[in-house]
Amino acid sequence: MTQDPETAEISFDRSTTELDALQQAAYAVADLMTVDIRASATDYTCTLFPRRAGLDEDMLKHRIRAEVIDQTLRLRIAKETGPIRNLIFALAFSGTGLADSGTTDE
């Protein structure tokens, strides 16, 4: 498969990178590049297509790497705080008041 000379390639270790994080990262950097993700047995290999001429290859790689780290953090925070977030929404929308009450008159 021939590669466009302007593209760059970067790999992420499958065992330490969540695909979700990678996909969200690719989405978030779409102003600078589009990303093609291929999975092998050990890696996710990403081909980076710059949006316009003159974008530095190193900069693009840094950008997507940093974004993957941040999206990974976001997934982690979301997982950890998911239950209490649901609780808060449930409390906010509950029909009765928030204080402990024995009765539920409205």
């Binding site: 950890e80 808060i88 929404f89 928030l98």
Partner: protein, 484 residues
């Protein structure tokens, strides 16, 4: 000394805290912005941020501040979830009160020919572009089916004063109908003021009607875009503003600017014009992507960075005016400040989630067609009827509000589920704009990485937060703006 319970017994133990729902943004090279579920924020360093997530932070003072801002809690705490729920509920409590703003396009006729006008230009004489009384009557009947305890009726056009007789009728009829409803009513006329006369002033005085007008800036800027016979739009506008202030009081007239490329180097001049006229509120508006503005430039987007420089110049000038003792408000910043520094909803339909289309505003066009927003109506002028919800002759209230044409964009653009928006630290300050994204990107969500709406708003949020962080005067000023 009588201290039995020591400080570390009550503090958060090492590695012993739980995260509360939080979102983050890499603000600049040495700070990370954290926001909690209801938009309360805190700045930390990148290292501190990781230490908090990893459980390795031992800065007790930072941990106490995170606790106070409901970003972390001690296991077993019950209060943070309760308080966050109360605050969330408060922020959302306006939702059942749809629809607050009802826009009546009483005519398309206008004697101006403004270059950026998004409404079809029609000369003053053709009254087939006027709303009929029957249409108005049906529109009022629909409006009063809104659950909202406050209804604001805004008259637009064209130039609404060209159909003043109908306007008068609508105001009186609305008040008559309201005797059975007891709602709080407000009336605004969005007019260029060129046709203001004694009769109109008297009517506004008697019926407590407010005036909103267009003031793009100093005369050369204003007249360049706002063309009318005699080329004296600015003079007429200024004279009209003064008349309304003298006759009805200074609080009864407000002005909005329309921003064009030519405005972008003139922030201070524009603000000075407002200040000279005693107008305390300045709304530094974005360049609109709709209608003629789009056509004139061949649909190219404008340079958001350049607009943000314009905005920040204006914002800083307004802050300095306040520092010098002249209370002036940048209206968009005040709206955002309300979301940043309080749990009250500012009621601004163009920056809210769920989007303000239909739920916040309904537009009744001169021909009885009903649109989900003002911009939705402008799209119709370009033959795009995506946001037309029905017609006053044929549609019931339920058919309008439960129309798939309304529900689909509301659902798809909802920020808590939209890609990138749902995890954005600024989400509590922001809103959904399905009309903008439909017009510029072809779907209701757009792609936030390339969206001018996102870039502009994020630029504004950062501009405000940076100033609040680095300048105590600005911080206190924004806090005050947010409380009103």
């Amino acid at each position: 000394m009588n201290v039995r319970l020591l400080r570390d017994a009550t503090a958060v133990p090492p590695s012993g805290w739980q995260l509360l729902p939080m979102r983050f943004h890499r603000f600049d090279s040495d700070s990370v912005l954290l926001t909690n579920l209801v938009g309360e924020h805190l700045f930390v360093s990148p290292d501190q941020f990781l230490a908090v997530i990893d459980g390795t932070c031992n800065d007790q003072e930072l941990l106490a501040r995170l606790r106070a801002r409901h970003l972390i809690q001690r296991p077993g705490d019950r209060l943070p979830a309760e308080l966050l729920a109360v605050k969330l509920r408060t922020r959302l409590r306006h939702l059942p009160d749809s629809t607050g703003l009802h826009i009546f396009v009483v005519t398309l006729r206008c004697e101006h020919t403004c270059r950026y006008c998004q409404v079809s230009r029609q000369s003053s004489a053709r009254s087939e572009f006027d709303m009929s009384q029957e249409t108005a009557r049906r529109a009022l009947a629909l409006a009063f089916q809104s659950p909202s305890p406050h209804l604001k009726f805004e008259f637009q056009g064209g130039e609404p004063l060209l159909n003043f007789s109908l306007l008068k009728w609508i105001v009186r009829e609305a008040k008559r109908i309201n005797r059975d409803h007891g709602k709080d009513l407000a009336f605004v006329i969005a007019t260029n003021l060129a046709l203001l006369d004694d009769e109109i002033l008297r009517f506004c005085e008697e019926e407590d009607v407010h005036i909103s007008t267009s003031l793009d800036g100093p005369a050369d800027l204003h007249n360049r875009n706002r063309r009318r016979p005699g080329q004296n739009s600015w003079q007429k506008t200024v004279a009209g503003i003064r008349q309304v202030q003298d006759r009805l009081g200074p609080g009864r007239v407000s002005a909005l600017m329309t921003t064009t490329e030519a405005s972008l180097d003139r922030a201070r001049d524009i603000i000075d014009t407002y200040v000279e006229l005693g107008l305390r509120n300045v709304f530094l508006r974005p360049i609109s992507p709709y209608g003629f503005a789009l056509r004139l430039r061949g649909g190219a987007g404008y340079d958001v960075e350049r607009w943000l420089r314009f905005y920040e110049t204006g914002l800083d000038y307004i802050i300095d005016l306040n520092r010098g003792g002249l209370p002036t408000v940048e209206s968009y910043a005040a709206i955002i400040a309300r979301k940043m520094f309080s749990n009250q909803d500012p009621g601004y339909v163009d920056l809210t989630s769920p989007a303000g289309i239909g739920l916040g505003a309904l537009v009744y066009n001169y021909d009885g067609d009903i649109y989900a927003s003002d911009e939705g109506r402008m799209l119709a002028e370009m033959q795009d009827h995506t946001f037309r919800l029905g017609n006053v002759q044929t549609s019931s209230y339920e058919e309008i509000l439960l129309n798939e044409k309304l529900l689909q964009p509301l659902a798809e653009s909802f920020t808590l589920s939209a890609p990138m928006c749902h995890s954005c630290a600024f989400e509590p300050y922001c809103g959904a704009d399905p009309v903008f994204h439909h017009a510029t990107a072809g779907d209701f969500v757009g792609h936030k990485a390339t969206s001018a709406f996102c870039r502009r708003n994020m630029g504004i949020f950062k501009a405000l937060l940076r100033r609040a962080r680095d300048d105590d005067f600005a911080r206190d000023l924004f806090w005050r703006w947010g409380q009103r």
